[in-house]
């Protein structure tokens, strides 16, 4: 039984039977996943299971060997470069290693999507960038280069850049990897804050179990090349699926019992 319960909602992203093989390794073996509008879906799973590969399929950076990837009901696996570009206009992405343009200042990094994709005047762009940097608690960072910032600050710049064009879907690839607890919480707080404000749909690939569950509407476990169930966090924890049980037991035994952690996230 792959899917314990079908989620019923207007889908923004839908993966249907996605398969991907690298050399002799079958990474995705019929992935079905449905991301609902305005919700946060978290994809979890052990390292090397192919979580980022799923994300790359959603972004159209990889094409599946079989199956469909539908974004707003449109199959992007068959889309031309132009159609793909049109679909990506609604995307914001925070990459695992942030992927800031390291030879540009923070200001230019955040301004780039605005300069390239809108016809706004330089003054308007400057105002918007300043606003985004304020929102991310990054005052005075505009003239610095990415290498001069800490990891947490880089992630925030990445988030500012991802949100620059008010995207409808934002993808987060391991948003807190390599950050300490406080910095992670800061990122989560910003995420929560911006999602409430902008109302985007979020897809998060994360290792940070159990904390990430608090932010999620649905949790999907990728194991053995398939999604083992896409459930609400509570359902996920109580799931009968042996692989999910295994995952829950090894990673998050104490999630709802630690009050201190609860308080830290508030």
């Amino acid at each position: 039984m792959r899917q314990e319960k079908k989620i019923d909602c207007p889908a923004v992203i839908e993966l249907i039977g996605v398969e991907k093989v690298f050399g002799r390794q079958r990474v995705l073996d019929g992935v079905d996943l449905r991301v609902c509008e305005g919700t946060t879906t978290v994809i979890v799973g052990a390292s090397g299971e192919g979580k980022s590969v799923i994300l790359k399929h959603m972004l159209g950076l990889m094409r599946p060997d079989a199956g469909r990837v539908e974004i707003f009901g449109r199959d992007i696996t068959q889309a031309s470069a132009r159609e793909l570009k049109a679909v990506r206009r609604d995307f914001g992405v925070l990459f695992q290693n942030v992927a800031l343009f390291d030879s540009m200042t923070i200001f230019d990094n955040v301004a780039l999507p605005l300069r390239e994709r809108t016809k706004e005047r330089p003054q308007q762009i400057a105002v918007r960038v300043e606003e985004l940097l304020q929102m991310m608690d990054l005052p005075g960072a505009a003239t610095k280069y990415p290498a001069q910032l800490s990891g947490g600050m880089q992630k925030r710049v990445g988030l500012a850049r991802a949100l620059a064009l008010d995207p409808k879907i934002v993808f987060f690839d391991e948003p807190t990897t390599g950050l300490d607890v406080l910095k992670s919480n800061e990122i989560y707080r910003l995420f929560h804050h911006t999602q409430a404000k902008l109302g985007y749909t979020a897809v998060i690939v994360s290792h940070d179990v159990p904390k990430i569950f608090k932010l999620s509407d649905h949790v999907a476990l990728l194991a053995e090349g398939v999604i083992q169930g896409q459930l609400t966090p509570e359902e996920f924890q109580r799931s009968e699926n042996p692989l999910i049980r295994d995952f829950v037991e090894t990673t998050m035994g104490l999630i709802y019992s630690s009050e201190r952690e609860e308080a830290a996230l508030q």
């Binding site: 972004l59 159209g60 950076l61 570009k85 049109a86 990506r88 206009r89 995307f91 992405v93 990459f95 695992q96 290693n97 992927a99 800031l100 343009f101 390291d102 030879s103 780039l112 999507p113 390239e116 994709r117 850049r161 064009l165 993808f171």
Partner: protein, 262 residues
């Protein structure tokens, strides 16, 4: 035996694939060069990088190439008692052959390697993926300005190389070795025809295109490199192979163009 064939087929397929990729890459870039939107500022920036900042090195190499040509040419020509032909010998060799080739090799070393490394690092650190995900066309944003700038810069740099080389030759030939200055320039004036200049021009245009094509494609397809395009070593390998490939390709095309245009 079967293994040998398997390996052979594997290699053939890989190189075919790579050739196809490079070909498509060129088509994609050229298509974007001719279709709007056209943007001036990024091209100017690249003109500064590929062209203007190469002038110094072109000046030096051009000067010394001309000087050594005069020195060696004088030695050879004196054997036949025809030192008076020094001007035309220097000018013709520079304009038809040495100018375009040496300038191209200098640009490969200075700008080509930098382009491969820059784009390779961007590929490695997912910056190109980031551009794509922002619906910014990485070809248009990163590569097209370099294409235009290289094709404009190469002939100009070659022209500078030629002129400086000719004066370098004059310096050595006339001031050091005692060839009459008037004879030097008169010989040149009489023997250099428009077809020679045209040959140099065509060569430099083709070389410019080849250099920018190979250098950018090598960086752009870093992740497809057979030897593994990962990390700093991947970038360094791609840069090396792009410099080697570009240099060899320039020399091969130099022969082909000479053979065609002679």
């Amino acid at each position: 035996m079967v293994l040998l064939f398997e390996k052979l087929g594997d290699y053939t397929l890989y190189y075919l694939e790579q050739a196809g990729r490079m070909g498509l890459f060129l088509c994609q870039c050229l298509w974007r060069v001719v279709t709007p939107p056209y943007r001036i500022f990024p091209v100017v920036r690249q003109l500064n990088f590929i062209g203007a900042r190469s002038i110094f090195v072109i000046f030096f190499t051009g000067g010394f190439t001309g000087m050594v040509l005069a020195l060696q040419g004088y030695y050879t020509l004196r054997k036949f008692g025809s030192e008076g032909l020094l001007g035309s010998a220097v000018a013709l060799s520079l304009i038809r052959e040495l100018g375009p080739v040496t300038a191209a090799l200098m640009v490969i070393g200075r700008a080509g390697s930098a382009m491969t490394a820059e784009i390779g690092i961007m590929r490695n650190s997912e910056q190109i993926d980031a551009l794509e995900c922002m619906a910014v066309d990485p070809w248009r944003y990163l590569i097209v300005p370099k294409f235009i700038a290289a094709v404009i810069s190469m002939p100009l740099l070659t022209a500078i190389f030629d002129v400086v080389g000719i004066f370098g030759g004059y310096l050595v030939g006339s001031l050091m070795l005692g060839v009459n200055g008037g004879t030097y320039f008169q010989g040149m004036y009489q023997s250099v025809h428009w077809v020679d200049v045209e040959m140099g021009l065509v060569k430099s245009l083709v070389f410019g295109l080849l250099i920018v094509w190979i250098s950018t494609a090598k960086g752009y397809f870093l992740h497809w490199e057979r030897s593994g395009g990962f990390g700093a070593e991947g970038v360094s390998r791609a840069t090396t192979s792009s410099v080697v490939l570009a240099s060899v390709t320039v020399l091969i095309w130099d022969y082909l163009l000479s053979a065609i245009m002679l």
